[in-house]
Symmetry: C4
Subunit: 336 residues, 4 copies
């Protein structure tokens, strides 16, 4: 007898993957955040500009008011955000679609001038789950080309525009040798997103930590209308929870949403409160990735680089944290 | 003349059912909660893992990020929840789809190790109102087989994935002899969900006491963005109301929603407040079912077991509570 | 040249109707609420039971869990509401579809036993804007027949199920001689809803004063998840505003929504606060209608009765309130 | 290779436009608000009446209850708003569709009598992104004719009904020589909305400062149910942020939404708080436009008038504020 409703049976992970998640679920990594900090906080920005509207369909090319709303992100949002991080002398990561970089090169310039990281965010915000493999490849390649054309260093990290991933996208990340990905939601700690032979160093995000569900609104689709303080309260509670667990927390904002006046006040208040708490390490995504990578793989493994060494995982099991404590995650995995 | 709009006239309950509900509406059962407690509280969990995404259509099989979001429930959510209940030395009930059990057997193992109950939750979260009778039967049978294959005791209770029920599902529950069901919303007290000859011992739920409406969010469908404290405030008010009425209250959570950091803090706070109030009996669903069954049926009746004896209901009318008080519900039903 | 987008030009009110609303907009009726009260408050209930689900399509006839959710209204909601009003010794109005009356006659019986008013709410909650004239007529006629069959007095008031009205519905109200209607939203004071020759004594409602937008939730459609206190806060603010304007306010609830535990607590709190304020007259809808009718029409006019006398309106312009003050509304209309 | 997903490549602004936004992003205009005030506040109203429902499709012409809900705006909303502004001796701007003016001429009369400005809001609220060029032109022309027919001065400003703009709409604004537009969202300061040769003096709005997302609700589409205080809190926070930046803030309300009792209380409270703060200049939109125009263009340029002089922008670069300070924006643009 066969279940004839959803034809999902092929989706079952094989037993080795199941075992992988079973082990990881029990892991208690010791992250040893620099400076003895208790939590690693990244507040990162997706600089979509008009590409977010493009991805809603060709009809939106004629919608000049909607496009102007999106443009607000690069005209008003990014400068405010840069100023905010400058005031606190902090660096963070901006994920920029290629189209945005080509059309607003001054945005790239100003981000780089302040010492921030630029990540890959596709070319025109195409939803990968609706795109052919060819389009996905073009999105990847043109994203690189565009960033290079305006003088950005080759990005080391990727965040998918739209928040979805397919097997093709995962394979492309592997092929192009990213240091880290920030598109999956399988944990609230840095982790290894494993799909068969492909293993991605994952700095995860989640809708509940993204400002779009809180602030996005379109005449055709609606949206929520909570106070901006509601957003801050949830983010702060997540911060406290992450701090108690000594883990990382990754908050995702968009300049066209959180760069608006009354919301930006709450972003300022959130960052000020985190800084004042004195317990947070606030790195760029790349810095975070470099710090956690040896905690997640044994020495010598190469993460997503696709060099075949990742299968060596599990043979070198013991790592030692900066404070001399054994890396319990590796310990837990000794039995694999 | 015939109403030609909705062709609903066939849906009218016959007079005997109408009378059933009229009597029950007047009933004031004395539940006699163990230990003299004033309220029975169950906080129960549906461990869907990827099956929730499966039920949204085959397209979701390719959506690796969405699937990773669902996987969070078994990797991060369940361990947190188990830890929480361990701290309070409490047992509760997890409803687990067969697919989840087969693919994450460690989840079943860890739930059982801590002494919790496992309930039936279908096989792959198929929406029964969109499924053929054959698919419904397969969902039921494979759900049993999968739980058995990973060492779980045969489940005594059922909660429908998706929150809907059809006549076929109700007949299957009857046929398979469940002790209780937790899929209907016809009362906020334990009650008898009656459909013709079939009578189910019902431990009801409701959307307003489920965390999905509060926390679920998908790019294609949207969702709400209240603070997690909003959820807790409503749950606590429901608890107080149930306590004042000396009834039961059944809160339904999903590890992939309430297991997220800032929400989990509120789940912890809710449970801590209920425990501190010292007036709640906090059983598993099976314990609750065994306690209320004799209050709802006279001695000797067999509930949903399908042995024909349920029709004897109404012939033995008087039961006596633990404290010697007459069971007023039985009294009320004397006239049936 | 013709606007070829929406073909709405025929919808323009003629100048006499425009002038009608211009005059009414300037009116400041003196309502002279009984007992010198400053505000008239009606908290009224639509007892849909399963008919609300019926109106969502035939598919819902198979959805037993959704139907049980709707049934909650008559099993749990109405008894709680009756008890609440009994405690305060208040009478209100329940709008009951014919199907509900036929299938739950005990609900009608208990409402009448407590001295409340029963209004017409159609037969099976058919959306009039999707119904043929014949179906609309049948809804009206069977609604009357069903209420009569279970011993209810012939209803004097009507509220449309679903909150829409068409020209056919308006004509039916006129033909059947209702004292008042409560389906339009053109004012927040009692007023005359005028459509050509037809004039309805209107006791208006509005979505912002209805509990469905706050509490309704369905798996297929979603819904909001604010705290129940949010609902109460808005209702109380409306009460204060109505009190300051010495007008009426009409709050609409559904037993299956507001009869749920944590929401019911807020309904209780709202009513308790209004009673404690000592400035509210809390009548049934019929009492309110009888009180305001002479303020809205000159002596001798017959409202919606369809006897042709309504056109006499405007020839007798002066009425005098209970306290001897001139009815300014009539005064304002002297120039018509 | 060509991206074959969204065919958006034609949407790329040319480099001169990109440079325009780059310069403007860096601009820090000194607005020199009259009276030394720190912020310019406009609370403006779109008096749609039934036209909002018309734009939802011909079906809505039969929906009498929905139409009555819309009519509330002119019967109850506008009078309340006029009274509020009279109490504070303030003038503001009402954007009125032609249909509303023709059918409720008393509304135009009462707005003008109190000295407020009337802006162009189309004829029947047609969504320009769904309309042909001919329909768009007719909307524009009939809007003018209708306002003229009821004695309104020729409007100097335009706000698009529905909040969208196309190239045709932009060209029409240019052709008809409006002083200002209030339909784009590209900044939260007054700015120049540039589309090729066309440059509009823009007094921008945004959904987050519009009351429809907060209060709009329809049975077919749903809506949000926050407290009205939530709206006020966000608006006040935006006010504070604008005051800190010495910029303008433009709040958009609809009489049928914010004119409802409990919401109107918050509108009153918001305006009272702003007045009490003593730091706001509260002009009409036209007054604001006349004040900011010379800050945005050099002396002699003609804004959107279409006289060819707008291209002279950038050749006269220095302006001086009322207090003798150099206009930094012009200064910033010296290098163009």
């Amino acid at each position: 007898m066969t279940v004839s409703g959803p034809s999902h049976l092929g989706a079952a992970p094989d037993k080795s993957e199941s075992e992988h998640w079973a082990q990881w679920a029990k892991a208690e990594p010791i992250w040893d955040w620099p400076g003895g900090k208790h939590v690693a906080v990244t507040i990162t920005f997706d600089v979509d500009a008009e590409t977010g509207a493009f991805s809603m369909g060709d009809e939106y090319l004629q919608r000049l008011a909607t496009l102007s709303e999106a443009r607000f992100g690069v005209v008003r949002g990014v400068p405010r955000i840069l100023d905010l991080f400058r005031r606190f002398d902090l660096k963070t990561t901006f994920f920029v679609p290629g189209w945005t970089a080509e059309n607003y090169p001054h945005v790239i310039e100003s981000i780089l001038k302040d010492g921030h990281e630029i990540g890959h965010h596709g070319y025109v915000h195409t939803s990968v789950n609706k795109a052919s493999p060819d389009v996905q490849r073009e999105e990847m390649e043109r994203g690189f080309e565009a960033l290079e054309s305006v003088g950005a260093p080759r990005p080391r990290g990727y965040r998918n525009p739209g928040g979805e991933m397919t097997a093709e996208t995962t394979a492309l990340l592997h092929e192009f040798g990213f240091l880290y990905d920030s598109s999956f939601m399988g944990d609230d700690r840095p982790y290894v997103e494993k799909h068969g032979e492909i293993e991605l160093l994952e700095l995860p995000w989640h809708w509940s930590l993204d400002d779009w569900p809180y602030f996005g609104f379109a005449a055709d689709y609606g949206g929520n209308t909570v106070t901006a303080e509601t957003w801050r309260q949830n983010m702060w509670d997540e911060y406290e929870h992450a701090r108690d667990e000594h883990r990382a927390v990754n908050i995702v904002c968009h300049p066209e949403f959180s760069g608006r006046g009354y919301r930006f006040k709450q972003l300022e208040a959130l960052l000020a409160a985190i800084v004042a708490d004195s317990q947070a390490w606030i790195p760029t995504m790349e810095e975070l990735a470099r710090h956690v990578k040896p905690k997640l793989w044994p020495v010598g493994a190469e993460g997503v680089r696709g060099d075949g060494k990742t299968k060596a995982r599990g043979t070198h099991l013991e790592t030692t944290g900066d404070d001399g404590r054994k890396n319990q995650y590796s310990g837990d995995r000794a039995g694999i």
